[in-house]
Symmetry: C2
Subunit: 351 residues, 2 copies
């Protein structure tokens, strides 16, 4: 962990960039003093912000560009015309080997398209996935895909299982993480063809994965498994449904505490405990969606996040680099394909 790591930063991505980005890097720098940053964006706006924090300034280099990807830009349009944007140049720094990973709070679709185009896929992986961490009753769970692929076949789901399992081992430090496939019921007969075929592969292919079987929506927050695998359509909707539910609960609670004098007094006594609940379910702590399966580390910070959230996204990128995530994935994918070709040979032998 003490070796110097360089992370490239899209300094113009996010609703409150570049101010939020620089504030976030300042918080990250306190926690991770060994990390250096390449900042891509408008020098005239970044430099004065950076000059306020000499300690941070000392580990940053600014790479000037006036172009930035807007929040409503279409991914195809960015691929055609965005090569001088801060986002593209930041991703390209990883492809050129100048940075070990990239962090952007910009347009998700554009960042995924540019990352796929510039970094390419890891050998043997068909599609990238967006992975994120969920708070659970037991701790935390990694879930993927959160929206990179709206249509997924069984093979994609199996690859997501491999990528998620390695993530749980490499970054969360779990020895034998359990993996579950998200479904509408836990019985074998339930679900669509993709999840049924993927479950059969995960169960029978001899992959070194502790496959729990199907899990349901309520198992995500219950922490039933360490890794929840699903397609990007369902995963994105589950993630946002959970966010909306937390907001509903918090709103009801706030209204409840305002509604009577007794409740207001109660709040004064209980506020420290309530603050801890807020911290534990704070979405900013879980900020930083990892783009897995690419030939390079890319982390998407939430577009509307603040400095605290951005600092956590930077921390996630550094974690992925420090734990050699992509090298591990490469090895596991070789295992997967070896297991698959063995299964194919065995099946052929049985004919």
């Amino acid at each position: 962990m003490s070796a110097a790591v360089t992370i490239s930063i899209d300094a113009m991505g996010g609703d409150h960039a570049p101010d939020m980005v620089i504030d976030g890097l300042r918080m990250a720098h306190v926690r991770l003093p060994h990390v250096r940053y390449m900042l891509f964006g408008d020098q005239a706006r970044i430099e004065p912000l950076l000059k306020r924090y000499p300690d941070l300034d000392a580990v940053c280099t600014i790479h000037h560009t006036t172009e930035a990807v807007s929040n409503d830009a279409k991914p195809g349009q960015v691929l055609r015309t965005g090569r001088r944007s801060s986002m593209w140049l930041a991703v390209d720094a990883v492809a050129r080997g100048e940075a070990a990973g990239v962090v952007s709070a910009g347009n998700t679709g554009a960042l995924m398209a540019v990352s796929k185009f510039v970094l390419r896929m890891l050998p043997g992986i068909d599609r990238p996935a967006i992975a994120g961490l969920f708070p659970t009753i037991k701790g935390e769970t990694v879930m993927l895909d959160l929206g990179a692929n709206v249509d997924c076949n069984a093979n994609n789901l199996v690859e997501f299982a491999v990528m998620g399992e390695v993530f749980a081992r490499a970054v969360l430090g779990l020895e034998k993480p359990t993996v579950g496939l998200l479904n509408v019921g836990s019985e074998d007969l339930k679900g669509n063809d993709a999840v049924k075929t993927a479950a059969a592969t995960l169960r029978d292919s001899g992959l070194p994965i502790r496959f729990h079987g199907f899990v349901e929506g309520n198992d995500i927050c219950a922490g039933t498994v360490d890794v929840v695998v699903t397609d990007g359509f369902t995963g994105n909707i589950a993630l946002k449904t959970a966010e909306g539910t937390v907001r509903l609960y918090a709103t009801c609670l706030k209204e409840g505490f305002k509604n009577s004098l007794l409740a207001k007094i109660g709040y004064l006594f209980a506020r420290h405990a309530l603050h801890k609940v807020k911290v534990r379910t704070d979405p900013r702590r879980y900020n930083g969606a990892m783009f897995l399966g690419l030939n390079g580390i890319a982390v998407k910070s939430h577009g509307g996040t603040d400095a605290f959230g951005f600092a956590n996204a930077v921390g996630t990128a550094v974690d992925l680099v420090a734990h050699g995530y992509n090298d591990r994935i490469r090895r596991e994918v070789e295992h997967l394909h070896a297991a698959e070709s063995q299964t194919t040979r065995l099946a052929a032998g049985n004919l």
Copy 2:
């Protein structure tokens, strides 16, 4: 509302049946004294429970059968061998016109299969949907499908929109409910083919529906629209993810209040306000998944519910009957198909 309504009850369905069922009917009877019940199940077990409550007993008739559908029975197996079960007989009472609707807390898959087989579909509806109510920041939202169909095409989604819209008008009493299609983003380009085609139909077919467009997972609890339409795979997972998230939040809160003396004192002052939050997010209030699109009213109560939840499911069935839900659906489906054939004629005229 004062006319006598008869509801048939699967007295043996649910984890705590028949005790929970009878207790639930007793609560329902206080609220809905004009409703009569046909109880299907084991007379030797039901009769002694009923005798304790003479007022309720007076509006009930027991129809004896010793057979019951177990929680783990496969729907196909129940279709083949379950014709003497309490569930089947209760559904059949609706088909024979003896009851206006049926309520069961038994096996969901079996109840859907038996209801489809015995009641048949409403003319013009391709597939039934399971609909439920969600609490939102603004009030409540109806969402469907919650799990009847794991694979849905665009036509199914359009039919769900019609059924949900009529539900919101007939049962929730909304004049012009808004309808949204659940998707991974609100832009027209996002999503899979089914949601994109369904959105185009809802926008352009001239149906008398206030179509809002796409909504995302966080819009469900935000109450952005009155009706959220989705396929049964996504809907089931969103529902259970929301339930799991509420449970996580409530657990964190409980732990928070136990953790220090100050918090315990705070709880004493605030408990009335906290109780109101609990009531507002109590899943039992939203108990009663409506099976829509069938030629008869069928309501599924949660298998693990208590008497309070079961009473609410009975209330839902009575509401659907009282508001002539199925007659309204029949008329709307005629509109839908008239609009479709007009669109087809117009399109043919343009060739």
